[in-house]
Subunit: 272 residues, 2 copies
């Protein structure tokens, strides 16, 4: 693998663009190919078998671009499909969002009580719980599905009274139950959730450390490329955006997640 | 077609169960086969080409059960795919939810100003707007996408402060803008929305006539079967539930929509 090969980033839709945004910020000289499987989202409510099948197809499509590294920027795909994808795509490092997030949470937590909010599928699969306890056997993990945050982020309702009341709905039982200990660290275990950081922060309280798995994953990708000596240097960065359906919608909604305008012709339609 | 053949009902997921519930109530002696394409939902954000392709596959799968009537209990599939499905499945009546809803709204409205709330895809496709204006050339249609209602209904947050504030978010610009006329009739143009009827009613106001397209479609199906003399009489009703993914989730969430418990083994997994 050469340093000039692109980095492949895969997500079920636009959510992974928060990971891409963090990657571009930390690795501005890299070229990226982002694939959003918009035709088949959401993955969070699908069965493990289906998610693995979709993730393998998407990973192969990105591998065909000659990528030097593959990022599963989708919590559900990382939780369910990382093993299968790593076995299939053996030539390059395959990085999910779960392990870096779990690692950061274990480092950040003093009490060992860690909260995780994620989609229904990610919580049910238990991947964050497993990854945290593997690192810290004393950890206590409280995982809560917070499915509505996805719809709020896609609808652009990231701030204001609705986002605040939904955040309280999910987080009050975790942080203000009045009984037992409360987590000192909260993992945003879905790529959509950083969009609602302000409301989540308000509901969790100012003393809670919030771990954004987009940031931590980007940091881990940088470390991996450095250790393998395939970091792009003195080159111009670039980005190709691919979607399996509705490129206009991808451009419109994705612009909020990527935090820059996306032209409708900037998104290429691909079939998996 | 004999009167003992089943009625096929198709939706992208569990939303169409509100239509099925209305059908079972109005036609208790019929046998139904319901197919939820849970592997590929939601349709509301997909491109028209993709929706047509999926609707044709699902319609064919139901036709293979020897149905005497096919109901597209999905607004997006009705709006986009009714023509293509009717052309493909010529032997039996194919009924969508748009036309019965538009018909009922045109009858109910005195002023001719009709509000429609639906998914993004249904609003953008303009099917309700077209179907209403075709019947009443004097009508003025205000259509508003209300995508979050889908997530709220699936999450079971159908009543309470969050549902109320989301309903106000979508409906206040329509009913309390302070300028111009307000609709006297509101069409619930998505099968999920009857679940939130209470919050929608509170936000729209007590004087607005709310048209539930599940009820109106069931009524139209009954009329069609009567006119073709294929209504089941003196027989025992029945129901088969099919889903393309995650039957346990279908059973758990669907029970709220169908308003009766669904056993996990009651839902058969099928591939399209």
């Amino acid at each position: 693998m050469t340093s000039r090969a692109p980095i492949g980033v895969f997500d079920s839709g636009v959510g992974g663009l928060t990971v891409l945004k963090a990657l571009v910020a930390q690795l501005p000289r890299e070229r990226f190919v982002y694939l959003g499987d918009t035709a088949r989202l959401p993955y969070g409510t699908k069965s493990p078998e289906t998610v693995v099948r979709y993730a393998l197809q998407a990973a192969q499509a990105l591998a065909d671009f000659g990528v030097k590294c593959l990022v599963l920027a989708c919590n559900t795909a990382s939780a369910t499909g990382l093993g299968a994808v790593s076995e299939r795509i053996r030539e390059v490092p395959v990085i999910g969002v779960i392990e870096p997030g779990a690692e950061a949470a274990c480092r950040a937590s003093r009490s060992g009580h860690i909260g995780v909010i994620a989609t229904e599928g990610t919580v049910r699969g238990g991947a964050y719980q497993d990854a945290i306890v593997r690192r810290r056997s004393d950890a206590r993990v409280s995982a809560v599905p917070a499915q509505l945050f996805v719809a709020l982020a896609e609808e652009g309702l990231c701030r204001g009274p609705i986002a605040d009341s939904v955040a309280r709905h999910y987080l009050e039982p975790l942080f203000n139950s009045g009984t037992g200990s409360r987590p000192d660290t909260l993992v945003l275990g879905c790529t959509h959730f950083p969009m609602l950081a302000q409301s989540i922060r308000a509901a969790a309280g100012p003393d809670v450390c919030i771990v954004d798995s987009a940031e931590t994953t980007a940091h881990y990708v940088r470390q991996t490329l450095e250790s393998q000596n395939i970091l792009a240097r003195d080159a111009e960065g670039g980005l190709r955006l691919l979607a399996t359906d509705a490129p206009e919608r991808f451009a419109r909604i994705g612009a909020r997640f990527l935090d820059r305008p996306i032209g409708p012709h900037e998104v290429e339609l691909v079939d998996l």
